[in-house]
Subunit: 430 residues, 2 copies
């Protein structure tokens, strides 16, 4: 068996990790594959930069053509990030019959379906398990392990930064801005944290998961996203006194062939397994029709877990090459994309409002809810900051998003309601 | 592509579940495999028994030869249980080039290595992911997903019955015997619960996991086992006041090529993910050199999860048949079996003793420990039931099993020590 030649795009911490694993596990990898792997070219922006890993200087290049148009190279590992330029590069690689392993969720969420089709047309594989939750082989588990099951719902903590921030806000009673700053200093959050804290990163991962789980083309635009920057200590404390923990949860669910994908701050019962996933850890909770509840927990990011996931994917790709079945892993969308309407999106809701503390207030509010057929599981009333007002916190039974929006609209029109302070999804109680 | 023919040994709840999944997911399975699956024969003990599933009466037989010596049959699914007779049957099937899918942990723990070798010699597959933790694809994850990682330690809650009992004992402060009786009435525990409560069932699963993770022949006899029947409310309450939860944990660890496999009641920090696995759920925590901590959580048993796992395995076996790579999944033991000596088995320990409350007692006890170089992380002293005695509860720093045994020996020789009430492993704190 000839050796398999790799081109590596990017030599940051993940790329360096891949090179190290291939070197340190050379014997085991050879034993498992029956062939050797050799890095041939590495695309970098600066070939003279000092590196943390021993690299043959001839491997380094700044010219993508040395990889994508290099006949020697069988597999491209893409760990340089970026969307449009990277997409062009990978499209060219696929046209030249090169297989791809990537950790690039941004790219896969936006161009994934197109790239997967192009790969199939060229009998090539694209493996991207490292793109969703670095240390958790969740894509493989969804597609293989639960092959004979139907996925009904996925709930995931798929962004380490926001989970770290919410953990600190909850455990140490610190405000969002304070924890964000600390996370930035520690390197857990980026200088521009928008993509993480506003939920976009999580939405990209949920898009990838939903596509696979429901065999449907779901685009990033189909995901309703809200982030964590408005969550206050009061929200956390009210949630806690009602028995809930607030987490940024990505949810993808299917009912009667219709799908909803959201990323939003969600109240989970304190003894729900996802409520206990702390700090930068990720976890994906899967409800299968037959198997019931399963959860996969692990490091969501980090150069070593991500590099490990990439090498696992690489080994699958190489096995497929050797078996002559490259491209067969691809599952084309089987079902027509159908999204739930607002009146079909059911969940419990947490609603917190400030009301004027006068006779008849409570009745006016409950009238609104009863007009919308909204009933409650829990209600808490407390004095507010000012003397004329009170705070009401309610957790509804399952209601549709339409019922929620109608109720909020009507409440805003009531003179006794000073402010709807916050409202959140409540989930994980079925 | 011709259809694949199955022989099913056993038609209890799991066997019935398999038949139902194959029927209800016919289209999806065909789509994923590109071929159809047909049940040809089902081995039962009574062909006239009323069944919960629609079965062609011609499928049923009481004669194993109709399956194992039937040229039409490609794959045998074994869900009838039993060890020696079943082993004979499966050996014959393998000699006749039939592939096997089994959920039989008892069989695989005892005869697994031999059967796997025999399968390899006949270019056949044996898949047994359903044998360890029904709803968790842990064997596949260990062998595929973490392919480029080295497993250092596995900690598992792999027996649903004992986890159910310990959850009730902890949450409802009930005694072992009371909960066991309730569990038996609810069908969560067998009439003869010995194999579960004394840890043997968990030991079988840990044997299977350790063999795969460390690529070493580890037999059931190499596992040190103790069960949960001696755990008292006092143990649980002392553990709790020190911040721990008691779980029956299977642990397989490797250091410098030497292995230790144990199943024993273990104190885990209350915020350890395994501490929060409740009721009949199972979970397997894996420490990989590169990927760090990952956990897989799901239903440990139940006919549907187990049937689902079997069908997943079946699909892998059929893919391998179609690819002509049957038997290639087998990984022969790569390393010489080396077990840790007692002086190499390191962990923290919880020790609880009743001592005579007189001058110098504490000093005599601490002298023993300091002779054995044992130091402490936590110490609790409380009045005991009688007025002349006190109870001392200690949690050591990491010590070897040899240090533990030496210390206990010496303590028993002290006149001030009335009784060593209990001692447990403490783990999950690194």
């Amino acid at each position: 068996m000839r050796e398999i030649s790799l081109g590596l795009c990017g030599l940051g911490t993940v790329g360096t990790g891949v090179v190290n694993i291939l070197k340190n596990h050379k014997e085991e990898i050879k034993y498992k594959l029956g062939c050797e792997i050799a890095v041939k070219k590495i695309l970098v922006s600066d070939i003279h930069k000092q590196r943390d890993v021993e690299i043959d200087p001839n491997w380094l290049t700044t010219d993508p053509d040395d990889l994508v148009n290099n006949e020697e190279i069988d597999v491209i590992i893409e760990v340089m990030g970026g969307i449009e330029n990277t997409n062009v590069l990978l499209e060219q690689a696929l046209k030249n019959k090169k297989h791809i392993v990537t950790a690039n969720k941004d790219l896969m969420a936006v161009h994934g379906q197109k790239l997967l089709k192009l790969a199939k047309e060229n009998n090539c594989d694209i493996y991207y398990d490292a793109s969703v939750a670095g240390g958790i082989p969740i894509l493989r588990t969804l597609s293989d392990g639960l092959a004979s099951d139907r996925i009904q719902k996925i709930m995931g903590i798929v962004n380490g930064t926001t989970n770290y921030i919410l953990t600190k806000m909850t455990d140490e009673k610190l405000d969002f801005e304070v924890v964000l700053k600390e996370a930035q200093e520690l390197g857990f959050a980026e200088a521009d944290p928008t993509s993480d804290v506003e939920g976009l990163d999580a939405a990209r991962k949920m898009t990838i998961l939903a596509n696979l789980a429901f065999k449907m083309e779901i685009s990033l635009d189909d995901v309703e996203v809200s982030g964590i920057s408005n969550i206050t200590q009061e929200d956390i404390s009210f949630a806690s006194s009602l028995g809930y923990t607030i987490k940024l949860i990505g949810i993808a669910s299917i009912n009667n062939g219709k799908v909803e994908v959201t990323v939003e701050p969600t109240l989970l019962p304190q003894d729900h397994p996802l409520a206990l996933v702390k700090n930068e850890y990720n976890a994906v909770y899967v409800y299968g029709e037959a198997v019931g509840e399963t959860m996969f927990y692990g490091p969501g990011a980090g150069s070593l877990p991500t590099a490990t996931a990439i090498v696992s994917d690489l080994m699958e790709v190489i096995k497929n090459i050797r078996l002559g079945i490259s491209g067969n892993a691809y599952v084309s969308p089987q079902y027509k994309t159908q999204l739930k309407e607002n009146r079909e999106k059911y969940t419990s809701r947490f609603i917190r409002m400030e009301v004027y503390d006068e006779a008849g207030t409570f009745q006016k509010i409950t009238n609104v809810f009863s007009e919308e057929s909204v009933s409650f599981a829990k209600i808490l009333q407390l004095p507010a900051s000012s003397k004329e007002t009170a705070e009401i916190v309610m957790v509804t039974h399952k209601i549709s998003k339409q019922q929620l929006l109608n109720s909020l609209d009507k409440l805003k029109g009531l003179s006794v309601v000073k402010d709807i302070i916050s409202y959140y999804r409540v989930d994980g109680e079925e």
